[in-house]
């Protein structure tokens, strides 16, 4: 009996524990709840009373489809157990997830009398799963490629979808990363592998970071440009982040291409004559190629000849920025590398192919030129008319590019823009060329004797049309001088002046202004007369008078409605003449000065700002080249008479030009003599100048530094030249022909001399030119 009681107590305990911990319900055959455990009550949020006798679908969640329940009923009705993850609804409307196990209950006769379901709460697990799924979806669909590689550089299984796209590969697992990414570039692949081996062996994180910074950061995979970032993970794997930077690169290259085209157009348009010559001599070279191949017996001779000629042309076309042709020649040169000791047949087919590809490349360049500068621009030497609107367009495009450009490109673009604008400029004498005639005619009309008008001006000064109205308005000044200044011959005779009057116009550049001086030797201004008039016309009051200087009074003639001559005539107008000059000069922010010498003459000095000061300098530096060459010729002549070893013949800083125009002449002798001229491009000088401006060095120190710079360059040059000496060929050439007029190069070549080599230093380019090479008999 006690045993039985104990058992009942035990059972009740068990039921309690079961009820508290197992989420269980029982239903009758139709699904009405007959039992609900405490745990079920807790999780469902209903009270027992609310549940018992109710259909079990009270807890059904709207998200769960009918099919699930259909499947449930079908299964359990057939006597089987149904197990599934189900989302249920709480009383308050919220939800929870369970794994439900539903099985039928039977009576003694094996008839189904109801169903029992027990559940396990999997809400937390479901939450995590969902979070995981969301993160995974997010990760996989990020527009950035993420992948990890292990120590063997193999790709680990998890990576974002973007990786598949940018690497054009569906399955990346276990693939060898360097092959997949850098497969098309052996050098980069090697660098990557080398770097990684070093990273794995690195002793500390600091070195690792440094080494990572040296791995390839960008890579081109045909259609796609990738940027790569690497991150060393703690577990020894490496996270690689891939960005698609194709559109950025495309934009960059488009800007670069446009810049290149602009450069070519400008190089061609500013030196049309040269470009035509160059094109013609290149075509001649191509046409004569077969003949030369047939005439020569030694294959190697022809080969060397072709190589040399092509290299020269490459330099010349590069100067003209003709990219297609330059690139094509470059390609051919690299083919030449593998072409020693060839036979004639090979050489002939090579020439044939070469001619075709070169002509095609030339055609491409010419197409671009024709499109912009007009068809047939390189066909003849006549000038070509270009629509003004084209320049506006070009200028607009440049403006846009300048806005977009980095500071480095900006400088270059602004230079290009200056050049473009210079097309629209004319030498200042152009604007004055009609004045001598005008003065002559005026003088004749007014019965005055005047020497032909002298216009003294510097043709380096060129300006655009904004100055034209001002220059045109100067007609009034000339009229004024002839009409009011220069006396009649009789009057001049009485004053014992030369009977023939004289007007001189001088134009010069002073600091950043154009100065125009127009002077005559007439009777000057009668200040008293001007004063009287000014008072009459209320331009001045008596009060003003005390404070007004002579000079100031003279300037009154430029005021509106002012004329000193009582009888206005057709030529002097009605006093509007000089005020028009004032109007125009004000517009240009210029000013007027008058030097009055009563009875003896009058001088007007007009000053207007000149924006083209840089262009001006450029023009001057062209003539600097000429100066250097002249200088060199003299030195070279002297040197020829002596024997000499390597020495620096001359180092000069041409301070009257600019601090950075320097040159050195080097002569070298062994088997032959070489005169080598070094000159510095502006860029180098500017950088040096910057360097000095930062440090307020003494003049002496500066000079010392500049000399040591030359010394340094000479080391390099001498080294290069000496190496050249060792080979027995008649001529050698250094890396690049450049920067000289084609005619100079031609003349140098005729004299068996070669020229030009550009040395790039940290400061910029230094140009070296071999001026003359003379073969010498060995002693």
């Amino acid at each position: 009996m006690k045993k039985l009681e104990n058992r009942i107590i035990q059972q009740e305990k068990l039921i309690k524990v079961y009820s508290a911990n197992v989420i269980a319900t029982m239903t009758d055959k139709k699904g009405f709840i007959t039992y609900a455990s405490d745990a079920f009550i807790k999780i469902s949020g209903y009270s027992r009373d609310e549940l018992l006798g109710k259909p079990h679908n009270i807890v059904r969640h709207i998200d769960v489809s009918k099919d699930v329940f259909a499947d449930l009923w079908k299964t359990i009705k057939s006597g089987k157990t149904w197990v599934n993850e189900v989302k249920n609804r709480k009383k308050d409307g919220s939800s929870y997830w369970v794994i439900a196990t539903v099985s039928p209950d039977y009576d003694e006769n094996e008839n189904i009398i109801g169903y029992t379901s027990v559940r396990q709460d999997i809400t937390e697990k479901k939450k995590n799963e969902r979070l995981h799924d969301e993160l995974k979806t997010l990760f996989e669909n990020l527009p950035t490629g993420f992948l990890t590689i292990d120590k063997d550089l193999k790709i680990k299984p998890n990576y974002s979808n973007e990786c598949k796209r940018v690497l054009a590969c569906e399955k990346l697992e276990n693939l060898y990363f360097p092959d997949l990414v850098f497969g098309n570039d052996e050098v980069k692949k090697e660098l990557f592998e080398y770097g990684f081996a070093n990273i794995l062996n690195a002793s500390n994180d600091f070195s690792k970071e440094l080494l990572i910074s040296l791995l390839p950061k960008e890579h081109n995979l045909g259609d796609i440009w990738l940027a790569l970032k690497y991150n060393n993970l703690k577990n020894g794997n490496t996270l690689v982040v891939l960005y698609d930077i194709t559109s950025k690169k495309k934009m960059e290259s488009k800007i670069k291409y446009e810049q290149q085209m602009q450069k070519m157009i400008i190089a061609i348009a500013t030196h049309q004559h040269e470009a035509i010559n160059l094109k013609n001599s290149f075509l001649l070279f191509l046409d004569n190629m077969d003949l030369i191949v047939d005439q020569h017996k030694d294959c190697n001779d022809i080969f060397i000849y072709l190589k040399r000629e092509l290299h020269t042309f490459k330099g010349l076309f590069a100067q003209k920025e003709m990219v297609y042709l330059t690139n094509e020649i470059h390609e051919i040169e690299s083919v030449f590398q593998n072409f020693y000791n060839s036979d004639f047949l090979n050489l002939k087919s090579l020439c044939f192919n070469m001619k075709r590809s070169l002509k095609e490349a030339l055609k491409k360049d010419i197409e671009v030129i024709d499109n912009v500068l007009g068809k047939g621009y390189l066909e003849n030497e006549e000038f070509v008319k270009v629509e003004l609107s084209y320049f506006d367009k070009l200028s607009g495009e440049l403006n846009y590019m300048i806005d977009q450009a980095s500071s480095f490109n900006k400088e270059q673009l602004i230079q290009i823009q200056n050049k473009v604008n210079s097309f629209l400029q004319k030498p200042i004498s152009y604007y004055f060329h009609s004045y001598p005639n005008l003065v002559k005619n005026l003088a004749a009309d007014l019965g005055k004797e005047i020497e032909p008008l002298q216009i003294i001006c510097n043709d380096y000064i060129s300006v655009d049309k904004t100055y034209k109205p001002f220059f045109d308005s100067l007609v009034h000044v000339f009229r004024n001088s002839i009409d009011h200044g220069i006396e009649t011959p009789e009057q001049r005779d009485q004053k014992s002046k030369p009977i023939i009057g004289k007007i001189v116009c001088e134009i010069e550049l002073e600091k950043k202004n154009i100065i125009i001086k127009i002077s005559d030797d007439g009777n000057g201004l009668d200040i008293d007369k001007i004063l009287k008039k000014a008072l009459d016309k209320n331009i001045l009051t008596k009060k003003d008078l005390k404070n007004t200087e002579q000079n100031q009074i003279a300037k009154l003639i430029f005021e509106e409605e002012f004329t000193t001559n009582e009888n206005s005539n057709t030529l002097s107008g009605r006093g509007i003449g000089l005020s028009a000059v004032k109007y125009e000069i004000d517009r240009l922010n210029g000013n007027i000065q008058i030097i009055n010498n009563f009875e003896k003459g009058l001088k007007f000095i007009f000053s207007v700002p000149y924006p083209n000061i840089e262009n001006f300098m450029e023009l001057r530096s062209i003539s600097l080249e000429r100066v250097i060459l002249d200088e060199v010729e003299i030195v070279a002549k002297n040197l020829l008479e002596n024997d000499f070893e390597l020495e620096v013949q001359k180092v000069e800083i041409l301070e009257q030009w600019k601090i950075f125009d320097l040159f050195a002449i080097v002569s070298i002798s062994k088997q032959r003599d070489i005169y080598y001229l070094l000159s510095f491009e502006n860029g180098v000088g500017l950088r040096l100048l910057d360097f000095f401006l930062e440090n307020d060095e003494a003049q002496e120190e500066k000079a010392k530094f500049l000399y040591s710079l030359i010394g340094e360059v000479l080391n390099t040059v001498a080294g290069l030249l000496m190496t050249g000496f060792k080979c027995d060929e008649a001529d050698f050439y250094l890396s690049e022909i450049l920067a000289f007029d084609i005619s100079i190069i031609e003349s140098l070549r005729k004299n068996n001399s070669y020229c030009s080599h550009k040395i790039t230093t940290d400061y910029g380019d230094i140009v070296g030119t071999i001026i003359k090479i003379n073969k010498q008999e060995k002693k």
Partner: protein
């Protein structure tokens, strides 16, 4: 910070020296034009930091900047050796880093680059 500048080009040495001397707390105490001299000067002046050109002509068995670096690190492991290099010399820099270089500067040398390096190693 005491600095030694090693480069075979006088101009570059001159430039770096001037730039460093303008940076607060930096002082160039000596310079050398090749790896061999660099080691000798290092022993004499004991600089805290060395900027070392990676490609230099050899002298007295010291072939290039990396060899000089190795020997300097052997003498004083704490020395901050920063390599001066150009693009395309990545592998050489990697070697140098593996052999104890603490950084590298890509040419052309600019004051900002030196400032950054100096700041990084100030302490």
């Amino acid at each position: 910070m005491k600095i030694m500048v090693v480069d075979d080009a006088v101009i570059i040495r001159h430039t770096i020296k001037k730039m460093f001397n303008e940076i607060e707390s930096c002082e160039v105490v000596c310079e050398a034009g090749n790896g061999y001299d660099a080691i000798e000067k290092f022993k004499q002046y004991k600089p805290d930091m060395v900027t070392m050109d990676i490609t230099m002509e050899g002298k007295n068995g010291v072939k290039n900047g990396i060899e000089a670096l190795e020997q300097i690190i052997k003498i004083e492991p704490k020395t901050i050796v920063v390599m001066l290099t150009s693009h395309g010399e990545e592998k050489l820099i990697m070697d140098a880093i593996s052999k104890g270089a603490k950084g590298y500067i890509l040419k052309p040398v600019k004051k900002e680059k030196l400032e950054k390096i100096a700041k990084q190693f100030q302490n």
